[in-house]
């Protein structure tokens, strides 16, 4: 019984092995060193998968019966839009973890995710506009899908702006996290906009609950591109997070040791 009471009184301590990974992940030093080992492999994988998907989609997939070759824009438009929304969730969840567990690293991930998501949203809007011209006859229409994506861009911009609106890093992180969480309301609106409103935008090509509405020869490269974009997103997020770590921890001994070791070796 003695061991049990010892265990109970100790509670969920740092030494508890099942929680160790969580605390380690929360350590900026651990993340910085470990992610440095992941980066070359992740980058290589992202490059290979993206190159495969792009060549497959642009040069080998058959053309669309109605839209002709302009439909090939789907191979960058859909993955970019996908990641713009997934990236928003990642940013909001990182913000929530920061608010709940006061984990420093997760605020850094949140801050890093904002500019990446903003640029991917821009890519989705831009490629959508260019695709719109030959398909709808207009670069821009104020329809539900496009407008809600524009709001997503503004939400990202808001999270970025709030980071610089406070003198205290902690206050800025909290405010950004709250805005990010509130903004998640927009994500289901984006998703459902093509069903809820009459819109020019075509309905979803990929749904988790049913088979894709496109031929396999066209669908496979799209799937490869989405995987490639996820890998790319991981690389970009790690790179931006590492910089945020350096920026906030540059006075600490471990960063100094790292730089000294690099200069010496």
């Amino acid at each position: 019984m003695n061991w049990l009471s010892n265990k109970l009184s100790a509670g969920p301590s740092n030494e508890s092995p099942s929680w160790q990974w969580f605390y380690r992940l929360g350590s900026p030093r651990w993340f910085y060193l470990r992610s440095g080992q992941w980066l070359p492999w992740l980058s290589l994988a992202a490059l290979l998968v993206l190159a495969t998907g792009l060549v497959w989609g642009l040069a080998f997939a058959p053309e669309d019966a109605k839209q002709g070759n302009s439909f090939r824009i789907i191979y960058i438009h859909v993955p970019a839009a996908f990641l713009a929304q997934s990236g928003y969730f990642i940013m909001a969840i990182a913000g929530a973890i920061g608010l709940i567990w006061k984990m420093k690293i997760s605020y850094m991930v949140m801050k890093a995710a904002a500019p990446i998501g903003a640029l991917l949203t821009f890519v989705a809007l831009f490629t959508g506009a260019v695709w719109g011209k030959p398909t709808w006859g207009a670069y821009w229409v104020w329809d539900a899908r496009i407008t809600s994506m524009l709001i997503l861009l503004f939400l990202y911009a808001g999270v970025m702006a709030l980071q610089y609106a406070y003198h205290s890093v902690d206050a800025a992180s909290k405010a950004s996290a709250i805005l990010a969480l509130v903004g998640t309301v927009n994500i289901p609106i984006i998703n459902k906009s093509v069903d809820w409103w009459y819109t020019l935008h075509q309905p979803a090509t990929i749904k988790l609950t049913s088979a894709p509405s496109m031929h396999m020869d066209m669908f496979m490269p799209l799937l490869v591109m989405i995987v490639g974009f996820y890998l790319f997103y991981a690389v970009a997020l790690i790179l931006h997070t590492r910089n945020e770590i350096l920026r906030r921890e540059r006075k600490t001994s471990w960063v100094r040791e790292l730089v000294t070791a690099k200069a010496g070796g």
């Binding site: 002709g68 070759n69 302009s70 824009i73 990446i116 890519v123 695709w131 690389v235 730089v259």
Partner: protein, 72 residues
């Protein structure tokens, strides 16, 4: 390949302008998302090593003056 030749791949029956513009802007943005943090990382690491250098110089200077005072 789906197209007969390279020229057809570029032209895409008149849709090439739209497709290749989209591809170019997307790739440029993605490249920027990777290169920009690498550039600022170099700057940050340089800043840290300058800080270390400054600290060392200050420590050295402090040592010298204290030695000087002792010898007097």
């Amino acid at each position: 390949m789906y197209f007969d030749n390279f020229a057809a791949l570029i032209n895409m029956d008149g849709h090439g302008v739209y497709v290749w513009t989209s591809v170019a802007v997307t790739l440029a943005t993605m490249l920027w998302l990777v290169i920009a943090p690498l550039i600022s990382q170099r700057g940050l690491l340089k800043e840290v090593s300058r800080d270390i250098q400054r600290q060392q110089n200050r420590d050295l200077a402090a040592k010298k003056t204290s030695n000087h005072e002792e010898s007097n």
